[in-house]
């Protein structure tokens, strides 16, 4: 009986250690995910995009013309 109890206790401790390790892994992965989300948000920040675009010689258009494609025109791809 004592051997049984000792074995059960050892198994429990082993499971607990594995559980702690998994918890640690989860925390690390959550941290990595947070870091990646931060990077995505920072990289897509408009100030960074604008600086990059200016570096490539892009400028804001002066006048904007919105063209609508009529259904009739859209239906004639060969035209």
């Amino acid at each position: 009986m004592i051997v049984g109890v000792a074995s059960m206790s050892a198994l429990q401790v082993g499971s607990s250690l594995r559980s702690d390790a998994l918890r640690g892994q989860l925390a690390t992965l959550a941290e990595q995910q947070g870091e990646l989300r931060r990077e995505v948000a920072t990289l897509s920040a408009p100030s960074r995009v604008m600086t990059w675009a200016h570096g490539k010689g892009m400028v804001m258009p002066d006048n904007v013309v919105i063209l609508r494609v009529s259904p009739a025109t859209a239906a004639e791809p060969g035209a």
Binding site: A30, A41, S44, A45, P46, S47
Partner: protein
Amino acid sequence: MSGSTIRPPAHRLVILLVVLLLALVGVVVRLSVLQVRESSSYAELGLAQRIRTEALPAQRGEILDRNGTPMAMTLDARDVYANPTLVSDPGDEAARIAPILGLRTKAVRAALASPGTFVYIERQVDPDVADRLAALRLPGIGFLTVPKRYYPAGPVAPQVLGFVNVDGLGITGLEREYDGSLAGTPGERTVELSAQGQEIAGAQQVVQPPTPGSDLQLTIDRDIQFQAQAYLRQAVIQNKAKGGTVIVMDPSTGDIYAMASYPWFDPNRFWSYDSQRYANRAVTDTWEPGSVNKTITAAAALETGRVSPTERFRVPATRDVSGFTIHDAEPHPVETMTLGDIIAQSSNVGASLVADKVGDAGMLDTFTRFGYGSPTGIAFPGEAAGIMPPGPWSDLTRATVSFGAGVAVTPLEMAAVYATIANGGTWVQPRLVDGTIGPDGRTVPMPPSPTRRVLRTSTAAEVTRMLAYVVQDGTGENAQIAGYQVAGKTGTAKKISAKGRYVNRYVASFVGFLPASRPRVVVATIIDEPKTVYGGIAAAPVFQEVARYVIQRLGIEPAPPVELPPHVMPIP
């Protein structure tokens, strides 16, 4: 006597036995007390020595723009602390810690040499920096995992978003207004410790998980906000102005697409800026609106039926009212003007003549229905109500209010006035928050903004024609956009000193909407103390640039133009 033994007296043995029995009884009684009567308190005492309960901070909800782009998020960070009693060489450790954390060695050394067993060295350090420090394995240095607020776009809508303090409490802006739903509920974790203070693997743990806060989805469009800020900053610099404000709003829903006040700050480093920059001036500050107010005078004239669009006024360049002289901006001979001309040419004298015909009751009623003197009710901390002089008015008050002196409004209130005209006469409460997204991913939309009828549709349409005339042939020509009919009004107002006197410093403004016949967006631009004084010169170009960007961003199509109002002034 030989062979005889001396026996101790029997009574001594009895006494010894009794003493031993009493001692035994004492031990039994004490044991009973300890094990039975006081067992629970001793058990608690023991538990307290080996149990530690630590708070589990709730993940603060994100703030998203109207398209789901994060504008404020929460990341993991580390608080670096020291137990000075375990630090053997504060000087050496400080010299190694300071460069990694970007702190002064002297300050770190002072902390390490301080009395007590706990002192923060630095709070909310990036994990990679903390890892570099941890790799040094310095005695007495520890780390706590804590949340840190991060604003990925930097100084984009900082006054609207606000910021949180080092303990994660919303201090200003929407972070403060919605702190309750953003913050969530902290949890706690109870663990059993060994004699060395380490967690016992496999021991019992009680975990009450934290409830994360809800995300806040705004009506703000991050890109429109960024662009509006860029144009505003450029205008302030070009005009050598003190500051400025821009609001971009959907007139039919009250959604605020952008709300900017310059100068601003970076909420990631809010402590390094003057706190004056924290204020969202579009909501918290009032100004004398000047000529943009004439739109309401025109609306009052038409709504009360006291003035018809075709009625002609003889308008001199100056007029005496109760001993004070009212001037138009430029000298001119006596002109014949319709209401449309008075608005397009922004005549102060003309507006005062119109107000005389409307009368106090009509003017007061119309201004009050537009919301003057009351906050709009947008959910934002510190919203100002504006100042509306109570009736009955003197002749001078009526005259000055007609062209926007002697009253004060917030930029947001004025944007809402023009949104009302654009929306066919129905006022819609402006709003910054579209809804919340709970931890379960469920979106809870905000109820639609409250509305109220301010003007008849026909009055709003007639005023729109006048505002289109302002931009086509009046003071607002710099707001024109090719292919789109813009309706709007310029304003130039003198500022008032702390002593309550007018001074030679001005606020220039332009508030308008487009397309005039089917308005999709209202843009209000206000430039504080520009070198080029006039709203048509300092503020209208900002409107033009912001509105042009919004056309692209929202894909606003041109609409057929509205007819210009009856007018007698020659069109160049």
